[in-house]
């Protein structure tokens, strides 16, 4: 049986050091909260780690991003049929926040279908082209382009509506 070995000398630790902040930003954009973001990041890195011997000379960063995005898509599908377990243990996650994420943005991103949200985040945070987004999502480049275009348009509309609501809340009543 083949097991990838992970130790100080094989580059995995350097990979983790470099990729964790990048993956965390993407995951934060996808989930809107640091705990879920870390869970996605950790699972993605661990899956790379256990396959490190096979992946290290390929594109482990891309593989980790792909795993992360697909885990997020699956996470949202599961929500339709899950109920929270009251035995779930909420562990401390090794993440820090400089400031809370923009609440209007979180709410708007959360409304987007998972693949549209992933396309938007991968484009805006990682500056990926359509082909790379398609690879992460497991779809064709034209489909990825459509996800991105629709996601951006929807996000624009949602944020515009949120801004309007916020303005009405602060406007003095006659």
């Amino acid at each position: 049986m083949h097991h990838g070995r992970v130790d100080d000398g094989d580059g995995f630790e350097a990979f983790v050091a470099v990729e964790t902040p990048r993956l965390l930003r993407v995951a934060y954009g996808l989930t809107g909260n640091p705990h879920d973001a870390w869970d996605l990041v950790q699972e993605s890195l661990v899956r790379v780690g256990v396959r490190w011997r096979r992946l290290h000379d390929q594109n482990p960063g891309g593989y980790a991003q792909t795993v992360l995005v697909r885990l997020d898509v699956d996470r949202h599908r599961r929500r339709r049929r899950e109920t929270p377990s009251d035995r779930a243990v909420v562990a401390d996650r090794p993440v820090e926040l400089d400031a809370p994420i923009d609440p209007a943005l979180v709410a708007a991103l959360a409304v987007l279908p998972a693949r549209q949200r992933a396309a938007v985040v991968l484009r805006t945070v990682e500056d990926l082209d359509h082909a790379a987004i398609a690879e992460r999502l497991g779809c064709s480049a034209p489909t990825a382009r459509t996800h991105l275009r629709r996601g951006l348009a929807r996000l624009r509309d949602l944020l515009a509506a949120a801004d309007t609501d916020a303005e009405e809340e602060v406007r003095p009543r006659a």
């Binding site: 097991h3 256990v50 090794p94």
Partner: protein, 256 residues
């Protein structure tokens, strides 16, 4: 807001980038990842060792096995073990499998070696012998599991999902040639996947049902020729298949 896609992308991009730039890993994050990778490697090594040991016990010392079963009936063994009957096979028409999983993955045959002390299943790929073969799928085991489903699932480690019907499910993913967990925290080296893409994912979904039965469905995300299916079956679809309430023991199988 501008209508041009590039301007829209730039404006929204700045806002998304600014928001996501506020999060960063703590200094101990790499150690957390390293520890989890190590834990999974250890789990796999233990899995491989236990599988080999279980086969050896089943083949070499049947007399001991019989004696231990007698102990179990007398109540001298822990109750969980005493109440564990052998797993039984279940069958569903191939059409069910194709419908639920959308042709994204193929079943992996599961055969069990059980002893009173531990239960191990060995997974082998299974394919129909041809168009004339009877329609059936492999890779499904229905087990009697008398324990609290949630605590039983959590004892396996990893994440467990509460399902709408009160059951609990989990999905393990590994690569062909590696190991997955079976429903009672034992081991299942996915052996003899000759010709398979080594990166083809093998997924095992286990649902611990509220009625005390557990269903495990193991699939390989590869074609019968061993090539990886991309996109593969989703964990959600696989879990839905395992959670389907139509799984029943094969006629003639022991029911209790």
């Amino acid at each position: 807001m501008p209508d041009h896609d590039d301007d829209l992308e730039r404006l929204l991009g700045e806002r998304v980038r600014a928001a996501t730039a506020t999060v960063r890993p703590r200094a101990d994050a790499p150690a957390v990842v390293r520890a989890e990778v190590g834990r999974r490697h250890r789990r796999r090594r233990l899995a491989a060792g236990a599988a080999a040991a279980a086969v050896a016990v089943a083949v070499a010392v049947p007399v001991t096995v019989v004696a231990l079963r007698a102990d179990d009936r007398d109540g001298t063994a822990p109750s969980d073990r005493a109440s564990d009957p052998p797993p039984v096979d279940a069958r569903r028409p191939a059409a069910f499998f194709a419908e639920v999983l959308g042709g994204r993955a193929y079943p992996v045959d599961v055969s069990y070696r059980a002893t009173p002390r531990q239960r191990v299943h060995l997974s082998l790929r299974w394919w129909p012998d041809g168009a004339d073969a009877p329609p059936r799928i492999g890779g499904v085991a229905v087990e009697r599991y008398r324990g609290d489903a949630t605590s039983a699932c959590e004892a396996l480690g990893g994440s467990c999902r509460g399902l709408d019907d009160g059951g609990v499910g989990r999905v393990d993913e590994t690569a062909a040639g590696d190991a997955v967990l079976d429903p009672v925290a034992r081991v299942a080296p996915v052996a003899d996947v000759r010709g398979a893409d080594p990166d083809a994912p093998v997924l095992a979904a286990t649902v611990l049902r509220p009625d005390g039965w557990a269903v495990t469905l193991t699939v390989c995300g590869c074609t019968p020729g061993g090539e990886r299916v991309d996109p593969g079956v989703t964990t959600d679809a696989l879990l839905a298949a395992a959670a389907d309430d139509g799984w029943v023991p094969r006629p003639g199988a022991p029911s209790d």
